[in-house]
Amino acid sequence: MKETPHRAWLQDLRDSLQMIMITAPELEIAVLVLGMVILMVEAFATKIDKRILAFAAIAGLAVVLVASFFVAPSPSPAQATGFWNFYTADRFSIFFKQFALLTTIVVLIMMTDYAPVVRSSFPGATPQAGLGEFFALPIFTCVGLMYLVSAIDFVFIFVSLELVTISFYVLVSFTRRNPITLEAGIKYLVLSALSTAFLVYGIAWIFGATGQTNLHRLTQALANPAMNHSAALLGMVLVLVALGFKIAAVPFQIWVPDVYQGAPTPVTAYLSVGSKAAGFVVLLRVLQPFLLLPETKRLIILIALLTLIYGNLAALPQANLKRLLAYSSIAHAGYLLIGVVCFDVRAVTFYLVAYLLMTLLSFAVLIIVAQQAGEEISDFDGLARRSPFLAFAMLIGMVSLAGVPFTAGFLGKFYIFYAAVLQRQIMLVVVGVITVGCGFYYYLKVVRAMYWQSAEKSDKIPVNGLSRFAISALIISTIWLGIYPQPILDALKR
Amino acid sequence: MDSFFIITSLLKIVGILFVVILPMVSYVVYAERRVSAFIQDRLGPNRVGPAGLFQPIADIFKLLLKEDFTPRAANTFYYWLAPCLAVMPAIITIAVVPFGSTLFGVPMVIADVNVGILFVFAIASLGVYGIVIGGWASNSKYPFLGGIRSSAQMLSYELSLGLSVIPVFMLVGNLRLTSVVRYQIEHGWFIAPFVGDWINPWKWLLTIPMIVSFLVFMIAMFAETNRLPFDLPEAEQELAGGYHTEYSSMKFALYFLGEYAAMITGSAVIVTLFFGGWHFPGIPDGSHGWIFGLINIAVFFTKVTIVILFFMWIRWTLPRFRYDQLMRLGWLFFFEIALVNIFLVAAILPYIPKV
């Protein structure tokens, strides 16, 4: 493979920085400390504009993000001891740590935009009420996500997954004066807790059947043909149910539309990207030992089919954009599951990255527009006149979600279908293609609203500098990855 | 061995329960009345028997013979269940507390479990059910408020209660209460370092966190046993008696019993944890003769009595907290103090020679 110039440059930098190599856990610790500091400042510096905290958090996370490119590799799971029994810092995990960091940064930017809405949910309070926590909690979620993608032991998976989940409980119901938000929070909580119960019970069975919780040793234990697999399989199914909740696969998707609609919009974005990505990373890790068993694959194929069909069909009649995105998120879980069935890690990864870009892009626009108009698709009528920039951003987001070439979304689908075709998953491919057609319909509905329909109001929608920058960056990377996907593929290779 | 074990255990249980705890409860009530009277420049009950010493017996009869009514709107089952729930934990807790050394070679502790202090906390924390259920089942507003207050208060102070004793167990290295006593025999009482190897200067350094620990533990214990200044669940002036407003006769007596039994148990735990249990400098343990075994038991209960008296003294000195003050104190002060204390001990421990 020929090194392109910029990669060589990165390599040089890496070599020259060999001296100050960072070990992976330090990243999480740094983020954790950042979160604590922000909390402390929030608690004691009552006079400052709380948005400063968000900017500080963004800056801090960005520093960590940069640092994450200089991480020393971890010992391989085979000869891991102690701490490394739970934690791995392979390329895959480092990549997803960066993914989590990036997501959090963008979400924080959205949150600064969303601040007025949060304020309005604390009536009678000082204008700064609740904002500090609103900016601090995503950092802890980010820590959870970063740990989660490194987890190679069920105990660790459980613990970090719960950190993510619990912080999401709070975030989802953050604007607590709004009953809809509270309902969303309750629904999310109950169903998440249910999935947690399944997870624990599944882990119990897997532990009982094999005596291991470490995924690597689990693989070895499962490879033993003398073992009766039915118990381990039951455990796996239970774990799958739990992860199905996290990634919103049918039939465990029931929480998604309500929660997505009810939660504060940046949180919805975070939920649909961060939580889902983490769920898939865990799914990939957890499934690896079990793919020896043919029943597993059949089960996932079934789930993938149902998810694809349900997500896409249910999205068709939606009129609320947040809800539409919720169903679309279910649909995308279906495509990702195709990748999981084929166990093509890189396809899933690329799809997730694409999904990150386009979803965050859509939500970023949605947040800005929703504050001026509303969340219904009809509120986007004539956006092209009110703010050509936002309309174009949304266009790119929607087009990418639908899977039009020269956007990241297309390449994601391409890799997924490529893997599926390679493995001759005919059923999945057929359903996948038909549902892509559905996707075109409902994503283009938004485009139609923005460009065809005429607006009731014609005043301009202001976009502040940071958001404009973030949205532009997202647009550019969506298109850039649609044309030149190699960086992502390379990032996973080493 | 087995039958011997069972018989001695039964004897211990019966002995502790009927010979020590129940009489003690009655006389603690008596003592409370006398002490409060003395503090308030009165004489207190002094009629029944010499100096009123038979007063508790008269009280028992009075309570037994009073009319036992059940409010019409009450939830009968729970209304009856609640007083029983109030008594049991307090009495069960005493099982793991060593109240003496040995007597005829039998250890003077009913159950020496390896999770001793946790057992104490676990069972003691069940005590709140009696109050909460009682308050709720009465179906009346004052008891109800008392029940709610009680549950919140207990939850809040359990934290500092648990955290405050951690330094003790960091030193002892074992959760067994007999080990705590043994440690104190060898290294001196935790807040009275002039016994045991008192020449060791490091031990004196450790005394500071130990005193903090003791103070927090004791104050939390006040709260856990609903004693003034933390008796918000039954505050007469505000709630007309709180959770037991609607109770009378023996059911009320059970609450009474439970409260004072809890106080005795709490004092016993305090004594065990901080005052060397049954140990007194110069008095050998029960292996040197049964008379010493008895003396050890006596020493223990003397210490317990002193602590109980201190409880009373506090009760008649300090006014009741307001509810928000109580909560703020628990969460914002004792909780942090206990935490910092743990860190303090942890910081001291690695740098000092083994004490």
Binding site: F156 | I148, L155, L175
Partner: protein
């Protein structure tokens, strides 16, 4: 400590063998019956109390499996704290027994059926699971120090998860404060 003349071997003998079947079934039934009562009772307070009893039975089962520490923790955390919190909330909201509403028989039957299917699946796997037919092996070592053993694991191998749980609790605390703060700053 164990050798000291003052402190002869623990009063509870070191239980090397598993609890007798009789006691096991007593506690198991206690736990299951009250567990079912949680679901069946219409009065939330009754449900909560049934749950406490069920947890006590569970704690006894834990102890029968030589997990004293967990048994005690179970009582301490669940019976002592979590359920009190439940009761507190039930009372704070003053939830009374649900009025008897018309039961949706289809939904009820469906729910029960799903649960039954789950149960059948589990029991099927249990019946197929060879290990499940074996009794518990004797323990050559002593579990008298299981607090120490669990603790040692917590602070060595499981140190990182342990700390993450700490962060988790912090987040939960922030969340609870935020959600239930009546008058925000």
């Amino acid at each position: 400590m164990l050798g000291s003349p003052f402190f002869p071997q623990s009063a509870i003998r070191n239980p090397q063998s598993i609890m007798s079947p009789f006691l096991f079934w007593i506690f198991a039934l206690l736990m299951l019956v009250f567990g079912a009562a949680v679901v069946v009772n219409r009065n939330p307070v009754a449900s909560a109390l049934s749950l406490v009893v069920s947890f006590l039975g569970l704690a006894a089962l834990f102890m029968s499996l030589d997990a004293y520490f967990l048994g005690i923790i179970q009582v301490l955390v669940y019976a002592g704290a979590v359920m009190v919190l439940f009761l507190f909330i039930i009372m704070l909201l003053d939830l009374r027994a649900e009025t008897r509403r018309r039961i949706n028989w289809l939904a009820t039957a469906g729910g029960i059926a799903v649960a039954l299917v789950l149960l059948m699946q589990i029991s099927f796997v249990v019946s197929r699971f060879q290990l499940a037919r074996q009794t518990f092996p004797a323990l050559p070592g002593s579990t008298i120090d299981d607090v120490r053993n669990v603790g040692a694991l917590l602070f060595s191998n499981y140190n990182l998860p342990f700390q993450i749980v700490g962060v988790l609790v912090l987040v939960a605390t922030i969340g609870v404060v935020l959600l239930s703060r009546r008058e925000p700053r």
